[in-house]
């Protein structure tokens, strides 16, 4: 029973392939899962927008959307209708082709990233030899679309926003990739499926997730910070800092293209969350051995949504950073920390297991954290804020 439920989508795919004409069988076996992804994540996007607006509203002590449908749950439908029917305005001086291509490229590339994320047991589009690499390569292409959007709009704010976004994404790509290298080292593979399989299995009822090791924990935190920045989410959302540069690189976008950017951003968020889950949180594996009867895809989606909830929570809590703080943080703090995480993962691999190994591997990370904290703080004098009032 549980087995059946777990593999229900796989079984359905096999069934569909088996019952289609032989000529289209390969096409069907490819199209079906792609269609699954194309349906699943945009609908998650719709749900998430409502969740986010409601969650933020609660944090800010107001109601949030509550007019459309029961408790406002049909709000995304209204949003979709609105953006589809709005006039698509393109600035006269804009580079029209590039202006059009930018959102399309973004969504395309982000969808590509889902190819290597295992959504459940046996549920991955392409079990690539170097899946993690593919994921980051595709992610690197999103920078191009951001730049195209900003440049083609012929708007200073757009261009500034694009430059900021690209600088930020490049800067945080380094810690993002480096912190995942620790996992790659530990798993001995770049394949996402293998990485998840390495984390399956339990000691007693306790899982073998990488987040439960010292380097994994530090790596996960670093990865989470970097992926927040990579997906331009608060508190790293300066590229669209409305108080300074209106809406950043999509200032000149409206209607459906704007919706595509919006969709792209959320899909990117789901994708990196999915990657974080895959790398550190055991992918689709259940957190405790006595919970394995719940289907794997439910676990995966649950973990992703938990991370999304954290994203929303962080967005409602933290203020936006300044540009120089952002860069300093990436290069002076995140980068050394990730390097130390890699070192610690190497140590972990060669030490015999036990409490001592935990402590030895945690020590360099903690030490570097303290040292970096001291060094970086020593540069600036933290003083009590002084208020000055006009006469």
């Amino acid at each position: 029973m549980t087995q059946g439920l777990d593999q229900i989508f796989v079984t359905f795919q096999h069934w569909a392939v088996a019952h289609s004409p032989a000529a289209v069988q390969p096409a069907v076996s490819i199209v079906l899962p792609v269609a699954g992804i194309l349906i699943l994540f945009p609908s998650l996007f719709a749900i998430t927008t409502v969740l986010e607006r409601k969650g933020l509203a609660r944090i800010q002590n107001r109601y949030g959307p509550n007019r459309v449908g029961p408790y406002g749950w049909l709000q995304p439908v209204a949003d979709a209708v609105k953006s589809l029917t709005k006039e698509d305005i393109v600035p006269r001086t804009a580079d029209k082709l590039v202006h059009f291509l930018a959102p399309v490229l973004l969504v395309t590339v982000v969808f590509l990233e889902y190819a290597v994320i295992p959504v459940g047991r046996n549920m991955v589009l392409a079990d690539m030899n170097s899946g993690v690499l593919f994921f980051f390569a595709a992610g690197a292409a999103t920078e191009m679309s951001v730049f195209m959007a900003g440049w083609s709009s012929r708007n200073k704010y757009s261009l500034l926003g694009a430059m900021r976004a690209v600088a930020q994404m490049i800067s945080y790509e380094a810690p993002l990739i480096l912190s995942s290298i620790a996992v790659v080292m530990a798993a001995g593979s770049l394949s996402t499926v293998t990485i998840v399989e390495k984390q399956a299995g339990y000691s007693g009822f306790w899982p073998h997730w990488y987040v439960l090791t010292p380097w994994g924990l530090a790596g996960f935190v670093l990865f989470a910070i970097a992926m927040t920045a990579e997906s331009n989410r608060s508190p790293f959302d300066l590229p669209e800092g409305e108080s300074e540069i209106i809406a950043g690189y999509f200032t000149e976008y409206s209607g459906f293209k704007f919706a595509l950017f919006f969709l792209g951003e959320y899909l990117e968020m789901f994708a990196v969350s999915g990657m974080a889950v895959t790398l550190f949180l055991g992918g689709w594996a259940a957190p405790f051995s006595f919970l394995t009867w719940i289907p794997s895809w439910i676990w995966f989606l649950g973990k992703v949504m938990t991370l999304i909830a954290v994203f929303i929570w962080v967005r409602g809590t933290l203020p936006r950073l300044r540009m120089d703080q952002l860069m300093n943080f990436a290069w002076k703090f995140m980068l050394p920390m990730t390097l130390m995480v890699i070192f610690s993962a190497g140590l972990w691999k060669f030490l015999p297991s036990g409490v001592l190994r935990w402590l030895i591997c945690a020590a360099p990370i903690a030490l570097l954290y303290v040292v970096l904290g001291r060094v970086l703080q020593s540069e600036r004098r933290i003083e009590k804020r002084v208020y000055r009032y006009a006469e």
Binding site: F134, A140, E143, M144, F147, W151, M163, I170
Partner: protein, 164 residues
């Protein structure tokens, strides 16, 4: 000569031609990105998965972005076209080079490699080779990248106006 190869080759060459002929520099850079993606596709088609993905990651994700930054930071007016003489000379030289190379390929490359069984470049093997046989080049490349990083920063850094 499979269909994917032909398509990717056309994309690559088209991107390259566009990158070298378009008037607007940013368009050139974007065309260059297209060319690099096509090349990455060619690598994947040739079973070199790792290299293909690295090509995208490094060239599209970094080099093209770098070029774009350089273009935006060196704000300039549209440059007038080359004089005819230089253009003809340059195109002539490159055409002769191509003719020579194509002739060399068609005349001399035939004895090697009709279809061979696709070799496997497993990530593990590449990693092993990098860490064992090629560990010294790897370290040297690391050093080179560090030096290039520092050098690029030093060169491009705004010269401080001498105070006092």
């Amino acid at each position: 000569m499979t269909a994917p190869f032909v398509i990717l080759a056309v994309v690559t060459i088209g991107g390259a031609v566009a990158a070298m002929t378009l008037r607007k520099l940013v368009h050139c850079a974007l065309a260059l990105a297209v060319c690099f993606v096509g090349l990455a596709g060619l690598y994947l088609d040739l079973n070199a998965q790792f290299v293909g993905l690295v090509q995208v990651l490094v060239y599209v994700g970094a080099v093209v972005i770098l070029i774009v930054f350089a273009i935006l930071l060196t704000r300039h007016d549209e440059l007038p076209a080359q004089t005819n003489r230089t253009r003809v000379a340059g195109l002539g030289v490159s055409a002769v080079v191509f003719a020579l190379l194509a002739w060399a390929v068609t005349a001399g490359g035939a004895q090697m490699g009709a279809a061979v069984a696709a070799p496997e470049a497993a990530m593990k093997d590449i990693g092993g080779a990098l860490m064992q046989k090629y560990v010294l080049p790897l370290e040297v490349v690391g050093l080179l990248l560090t030096a290039a990083l520092i050098g690029a920063v030093v060169i491009a850094m705004e010269e401080k106006k001498k105070a006092r």
